[in-house]
């Protein structure tokens, strides 16, 4: 009798979990998962045990209590008698304001610098290179502090505008640039100003419609219709006409030196300007590199082909290169926007009351609720960052290469 050894079948033995390559990876993954869960369970139970030992508990009741402190920059109504919750919302709005404005300027500066860095002009090219390297390689906190210090030291303070022998004066009598911030005239909307605003909106729609019509004419009939002068006319004439018809309902509130400070007008605080400016130029250096990478990713054949069709360099960039480069630029741009939003939490360095300054700063200190406020802060930044990602991903999907 010959005994043939059959291939092993069925019989599952425990040792196979380690020895059999089919199961080994599952075994290790399972062990790692258990270890991870155990580690988090330990940290959680340790936290609860320690809080209990210290006689503390987790409670969000403090959010409903009066905050008791004042905030200088308020986008919504807020007094020291408002709740901690409202103080947190004021801070959140301040964070969003600085993030949105800085994202905008960073994008504009970044795109311009990125394009200029590829210039054939040696000087421009090198200057942009120096800018990028300097700003990219120094921490943003240092930039914020430097800009704030220079801002405060260089610009005149309100007291220098005072008196007969004032050493500083307002620009055009309506703009004041002081070390405490910039003061601008503020438009005041009187009764009837709604019509002026509506007229303005209508003329914007009109300009858009007219340009569409001009394009249609060009494509359908090959006729060039002038768009520049009609657009300018549409922009100004109806609004100005309506403005006078309604009896000049919109007036300007000029800032004026009263007491210690300028009063009236729009006040952009030094902390806001320094923070926004620092975040913009710091992040713009990174965006410039993204833009440069995106443009370089488009083969030179495209440029040459466009040039041979007779397009001017500006049009080559706008119509051929940038639309394709955007596909490469957008994904890293998203993370730069997220960086701006998160870096805005350095605001307290210059006394800007963002959400880290109100909820994570003063509220945390006055109530002592460290864990609760930090959890709230984390949730806030997480929600904001994920929202930015979501919006930008939608945009990315609209510009990315459509594969069919």
């Amino acid at each position: 009798m010959t005994t043939l050894s059959d291939p092993p079948k069925g019989g599952f033995r425990v040792s196979m979990l380690i020895n059999d390559t089919r199961y080994r990876s599952y075994t290790f993954q399972f062990i790692a998962l258990i270890a991870l869960i155990a580690a988090f369970a330990y940290l959680g139970s340790n936290l609860i045990a320690n809080l209990k030992a210290a006689g503390l508990n987790i409670s969000y009741r403090f959010l409903g209590e009066p905050a008791g402190y004042d905030i200088n920059q308020r986008l919504i109504e807020y007094t020291s008698q408002s709740t901690h919750m409202r103080a947190a919302v004021v801070g959140m709005l301040n964070t969003l304001l600085v993030a949105v404005v800085a994202c905008f300027f960073a994008t504009v500066i970044g795109v311009i610098v990125g394009v200029l860095r590829l210039s054939n002009n040696w000087l421009v090219n090198k200057l942009m290179g120096v800018y990028v390297e300097i700003f990219r390689n120094v921490p943003v906190l240092i930039w914020i502090l430097i800009i704030m210090a220079v801002f405060v030291a260089v610009l005149p303070q309100p007291r220098e505008f005072r008196g007969d022998d004032a050493t500083a004066s307002m620009v055009f009598g309506s703009f004041a640039f002081t070390g405490r911030g910039f003061y601008f005239p503020k438009p005041v909307f009187g009764p009837g100003s709604l019509f002026v605003v509506l007229t303005f909106a209508a003329s914007l729609v009109g300009i858009w419609g007219y340009r569409r019509y001009a394009k249609q004419q060009l494509f359908d009939h090959g006729r060039m219709v002038s768009t520049l002068w009609p657009s300018i006319g549409l922009f100004f004439v109806p609004v100005i006409a309506m403005f006078f018809i309604m009896g000049q309902p919109i007036t300007l509130d000029y800032p004026a030196l009263k007491g210690f400070n300028f009063q009236g007008g729009i006040y952009a605080r030094n902390s806001f300007i320094a923070l926004t400016f620092a975040l913009s130029i710091y992040t713009a250096a990174f965006i410039a590199e993204n833009v440069r990478a995106g443009i370089l990713a488009i083969s030179t054949g495209q440029t040459e082909a466009a040039a041979s069709l007779g397009l001017r360099p500006g049009r080559i960039m706008n119509l051929v290169i940038l639309p394709q480069a955007l596909r490469v630029i957008i994904p890293p741009l998203i993370s730069q926007y997220l960086n701006i939003t998160k870096n805005s939490s350095l605001a307290i360095a210059v006394g800007y009351m963002d959400v880290t300054g109100t909820l994570g700063g003063i509220t945390l200190n006055q109530t002592g609720r460290a864990i609760e406020t930090v959890l709230l802060l984390m949730a806030f930044y997480l929600v904001i960052s994920l929202s930015i990602s979501a919006v930008m991903n939608v945009y990315n999907n609209s510009v990315k290469l459509k594969e069919r």
């Binding site: 330990y42 402190y69 004042d70 400070n261 300054g357 006055q366």
Partner: protein
């Protein structure tokens, strides 16, 4: 078997974490060093001198505690804290005692679970303005820009003061005293507000102190004192009675000049004897050596000596004793008897 060891270890670990809050006295003795939380730098109260040695009124308290517990006033690790980080540092056990002109308030004592060991300086919040502004009262500050240290009681007092007087202001929150100085001097704020003692100390550090005035209004009560974690009463007692010993020493006339003589043998004043450990067992009751208070007083002298050396009238800060005089001199310093 293995499992039980694992769970056992986990239980021990979580228990140990819970117990760490208690037994600070033993921890300090075992470590051989006191971790003392101070400011990041306020001349006269706590600031490193030219040699990098910490000097000041609050530092004196730290050194006295270290001398009482360890017998060595130099056995202190100074941990600079800001208004924001101080409570976390204390609650987490990073420091054993916080001596950082911290105001004793209800919520800090009760809600934040700290224990104030006493008051070493009775203070109140004031305002400093440049003389050139021509302001003589805080009520004339309508519309002023006010620099203020964030995370302090001064922030809340300020809001209350301006609200009750129905005047407006623009707060500029600042993290530390050092950051506030250039902003105030450059004129980015009209007013700097903090505790009156802090204003005096800040002004003393200016190039031209005479160009700035401290307004007469004191808008709050700010009893400043060292604090420890709630629930560790033995350690709280050590800190409380070390501070009391410094104040009592001034009251009964123990100074760094005569302490060696008074402490050598029991004299005829029983209170001095009990403080210096030549009579009775007060040190033993605290879990310290018999000469604990003697060491504490020898570290920097009694309360009056520490005060005069760091913030008194002959220093650039130039604070008078005022409320901080002994009760026998019309002040508020009044310690319970040593017996």
């Amino acid at each position: 078997m293995k499992k039980s060891v694992f769970f056992g270890a986990m239980t021990v670990a979580s228990l140990a974490a819970g117990v760490a809050a208690a037994g600070t006295l033993d921890d300090v003795k075992a470590r051989g060093k006191l971790n003392c939380g101070v400011t990041t730098g306020l001349v006269g109260f706590a600031a490193p001198d030219a040699n990098g040695e910490w000097q000041g009124f609050d530092v004196g308290v730290c050194r006295a505690i270290a001398a009482a517990v360890l017998g060595d006033p130099k056995a202190v690790e100074f941990v600079p804290t800001t208004g924001k980080t101080r409570f976390t540092a204390l609650a987490s056990g990073e420091i054993d005692v916080l001596a950082r002109n911290t105001t004793w308030t209800f919520s800090r004592d009760v809600d934040l679970k700290f224990e104030f060991a006493g008051v070493n300086y009775y203070d109140g919040q004031g305002f400093m303005v440049p003389k050139a502004l021509g302001v003589s009262s805080a009520k004339e500050l309508d519309g002023a820009t006010v620099c203020i240290q964030t995370g302090t009681t001064t922030e809340l007092n300020l809001a209350d003061f301006f609200r009750t007087n129905n005047i407006s202001y623009e707060p500029v929150p600042i993290e530390t005293n050092a950051e506030a100085q250039p902003l105030y001097l450059e004129g980015a704020c009209d007013v700097y507000t903090t505790d009156a003692s802090g204003l005096a100390a800040t002004r003393a550090a200016f190039e031209n102190p005479g160009d700035h005035v401290v307004l007469p209004e004191i808008i709050s009560k700010e009893p400043l004192g060292p604090l420890v974690r709630h629930g560790d009463n033995e350690w709280g007692d050590v800190v409380r009675w070390t501070l009391n010993a410094l104040i009592a020493a001034e009251e009964v006339g123990i100074t760094s000049a005569n302490i060696a003589e008074l402490g050598a043998a029991a004299g005829n004043n029983p209170e001095i004897n009990r403080i210096l450990g030549t009579e009775g067992t007060l040190g033993e009751m605290l879990g310290l050596s018999a000469d604990w208070a003697k060491n504490a007083i020898m570290a920097g002298g009694n309360y009056a000596e520490i005060f005069e050396k760091n913030i008194g009238e002959n220093t650039p800060i130039g604070l008078s004793r005022g409320l901080n005089a002994q009760w026998t001199d019309g002040g508020l310093l009044y310690v319970p008897p040593f017996r």
